[in-house]
């Protein structure tokens, strides 16, 4: 599952994910009918529309395979909200639960399904890591850091308030650009202060928001998705 933001804005992330998984011996397919998980609609309270998109996505992944997505946000939508959203539908609830069980965020899949921490990556540089909010929702803790810790020639430096939201929040950033702007300004400031030359994140939403602010500040830090770091050899 490549997710709509990843598909449209950061296609390199999807490509890196595919390459990484193939290198680790995983057979990867991309069902072309997938589009968006419906989280924007769900979060904004348009649950009827979200339900239709959930059904569309469940149909798109109607096989028995595991589903891996380089996004905690979309994984959380599928794993936590689909079953809740389709709770009262006797047919679709079961299908939602089935997809929820099969779906994994990338770092979750690597560590808890494949059982690897060292994916054989090498990425010279000094990196700092921003934790995406939805990893918390998924019950993931330090999985991305454990993977990054095993990357050769990569130095990890701490990021102040690394687990504070960057201020994206979908429609929140449009409805309350003042609050959201203050949040991303703090985030970008901490990133600049960290002394890193690479920012690692796990979600396209965070990347688009933080990168937008870093660019505006004229910061030279290179943003990378976790998949892009892990794919490098």
């Amino acid at each position: 599952m490549v997710t709509c933001l990843g598909d449209a804005l950061f296609p390199d992330v999807g490509v890196a994910t595919v390459k990484l998984l193939r290198r680790l011996g995983v057979d990867v397919d991309f069902p072309p009918s997938q589009t968006c998980c419906g989280q924007p609609h769900f979060n904004s309270g348009y649950h009827d529309e979200a339900r239709k998109l959930a059904m569309h996505t469940i149909r798109a992944f109607g096989h028995d395979n595991l589903v891996v997505t380089p996004s905690g946000s979309c994984a959380a939508m599928v794993k936590l909200e689909y079953p809740h959203l389709l709770e009262n539908d006797l047919v679709w609830h079961g299908r939602a639960e089935d997809l929820a069980r099969r779906t994994h965020e990338l770092s979750d899949f690597l560590i808890h399904v494949l059982g690897v921490e060292d994916v054989g990556a090498r990425c010279p540089g000094k990196a700092t890591y921003h934790m995406a909010c939805h990893l918390r929702g998924l019950g993931l803790k330090d999985e991305p850091e454990r993977l990054l810790g095993k990357v050769k020639d990569l130095e990890l430096v701490p990021l102040e308030r690394f687990d504070e939201c960057c201020g994206f929040g979908g429609s929140f950033s449009v409805r309350f650009p003042g609050i959201s702007g203050a949040m991303v300004e703090d985030k970008a400031g901490f990133i600049d202060k960290s002394g890193a030359d690479i920012l690692v994140a796990t979600d396209a939403g965070c990347l688009m928001n933080i990168l937008g602010r870093l660019r505006r500040r004229g910061s030279k830090i290179r943003p990378m998705h976790l998949a892009q770091v892990l794919e490098k050899t």
Partner: protein, 474 residues
């Protein structure tokens, strides 16, 4: 609509704008929430298994709410057996009338109060003063606010928006002296004033952190000991509780005591934990002659019956405020209601009305830090989303709704989606600098005020996949 303490004609966007530009407020918020959140994490980490304890606390709350009628009746019976009186208040107005009436019947003239958000919720002070009573808040923070004519901006640190300089100004004016702004002098001045009030008061008003159905015990948790003085010096004690504050057994109390202070500040226990079981008994040296328990509904039973019941599990520790990146930047007053932060964004629309508070359910990036900090793991993000849904149900078709509908339609037709993506790229591409836009029109203008906006990549992943896939086939 309920009678709920909310600023009239509150302008949320205006208040947000003002708060973001208020530098002393920003500094105070970062300082306080940072300290308290570090405490919250330390507090949970110090427990053998905080996760299970929090689940346990949640189960007790869920169970109690499912049998609330039984436990409230049991609580009433227990209090009556001890010689206390129980009053049922359906609304804020009822609660005010009941408490004013108790004061009149018992000829009380001077009231001291320990900190109670529920009393804020019903605008109690104003009613008591109108009835001719002198009322003094005895929590130091609340006292400062009372003197300054302000309202609390945090559940447990009500005067967080003040600095020691501003506290010195407020107190100096009150005592008619020029006080230095060192915390010790200020605290001692407060203590001197408040001690006098305790001794002269004939009515003590408190909230209730918990009320135990089995024993009729009201539990107060404070750090200043003012709760204990409020309930021992005056002749009459009135405890005001929201009806969701009941817990079944005394044995359930430690579960919550272990969590409350840790979640709020990181303390193992608050400095004072006071258990009050009925009025003074024969032979006892202190305690009030009369004990009244006022149990407030004010919209709670309606919430209990609906999809937002989980919000009644809240034990008012303030952890979600400290954890919230939005609260940290706008402070409590911006929310407009007596309850602020993430839980306030749920309680204010529920107690007041959704239509009066249309922005609150949206004032969250849904980051989930609140739920992670909550001692009873309330799924605050999901309830905020639920309130957003309620809003849409009560609104006839809007442009926004239409846009979401159209968007959803496109997303369900992969070919159309691909076409739309190409169209967006064609439209925005030429305006971009290195793939990013500096300025967006309409609703996007706010976004680009602070940051650039990306345009779709020249080849989407699905375009690239075809190449990768083709390669593999060869």
């Amino acid at each position: 609509m309920n009678d709920y303490a909310r600023h009239e004609h509150h302008d949320f966007p205006g208040a947000v704008h003002q708060a973001l530009a208020d530098e002393p407020l920003q500094a105070a918020l970062v300082r306080l929430t940072g300290t308290l959140m570090a405490g919250n994490r330390r507090g949970y980490a110090a427990l053998a298994d905080s996760d299970r304890l929090r689940d346990h606390a949640k189960q007790i709350k869920e169970h109690t709410l499912a049998h609330l009628d039984n436990y409230l009746e049991q609580l009433e019976a227990s209090v009556v057996k001890l010689g206390g009186k129980v009053h049922w208040a359906a609304s804020a107005e009822d609660a005010r009338a009941i408490i004013v009436d108790i004061a009149r019947q018992s000829s009380c003239k001077r009231a001291v109060k320990s900190k109670s958000m529920t009393s804020e919720e019903i605008h109690l002070n104003r009613a008591l003063e109108k009835a001719g009573l002198e009322v003094t808040e005895t929590d130091f923070g609340e006292f400062i606010l009372q003197v300054a004519g302000e309202r609390p901006s945090h559940l447990v640190a009500p005067a967080v928006h003040h600095t020691r300089e501003s506290v010195a100004r407020v107190l100096s004016k009150y005592v008619g002296d020029d006080l230095p702004d060192d915390p010790k002098t200020l605290a001692l001045t407060g203590r001197r004033i408040l001690r006098q009030e305790f001794h002269q008061a004939d009515l003590g008003i408190t909230g209730a952190n918990f009320a135990v159905a089995e024993t009729g015990t009201v539990v107060l948790v404070t750090n200043e000991g003012n709760g204990r003085l409020t309930t021992t010096c005056p002749r009459v004690h009135v405890a005001l509780m929201g009806m969701e504050k009941v817990i079944p057994r005394l044995a359930d109390l430690p579960v919550f005591l272990k969590l409350l202070a840790r979640a709020a500040t990181g303390q193992t226990l608050s400095v004072y934990t006071t258990l009050i079981t009925g009025p003074r008994r024969p032979g006892e040296l202190d305690g009030p002659e009369e004990f009244h328990l006022v149990i407030l509904d004010n919209g709670r039973s309606r919430i209990l019956a609906g999809p937002f019941r989980e919000s009644l599990e809240c034990i008012r520790c303030g952890a979600c405020l400290n954890a919230c990146p939005v609260y940290r930047r706008i402070g409590g007053h911006a929310y407009g209601g007596v309850y602020s932060g993430p839980i306030g964004s749920i309680l204010t629309p529920l107690y007041d009305s959704v239509s009066n508070n249309p922005e609150l359910p949206h004032a969250s990036s849904l980051c989930g830090a609140c739920q992670a900090a909550c001692p009873v793991k309330i799924n605050i993000p999901r309830m905020l989303i639920g309130l957003r849904e309620v809003q849409h149900h009560h609104r006839t078709s809007t442009w926004e709704h239409l846009a979401y509908k159209l968007w959803s339609l496109v997303l369900r037709k992969p070919r159309l989606y691909r076409l739309a993506l190409r169209f967006a790229r064609m439209l925005l591409g030429p305006l971009a600098d290195d793939g990013w836009l500096k300025r967006l029109p309409g609703p996007g203008a706010g976004w680009t005020h602070a940051r650039d906006f990306p345009v779709p990549a020249s080849r989407s992943f699905r375009d690239r996949w075809r190449e990768l896939y083709a390669k593999k086939e060869k």
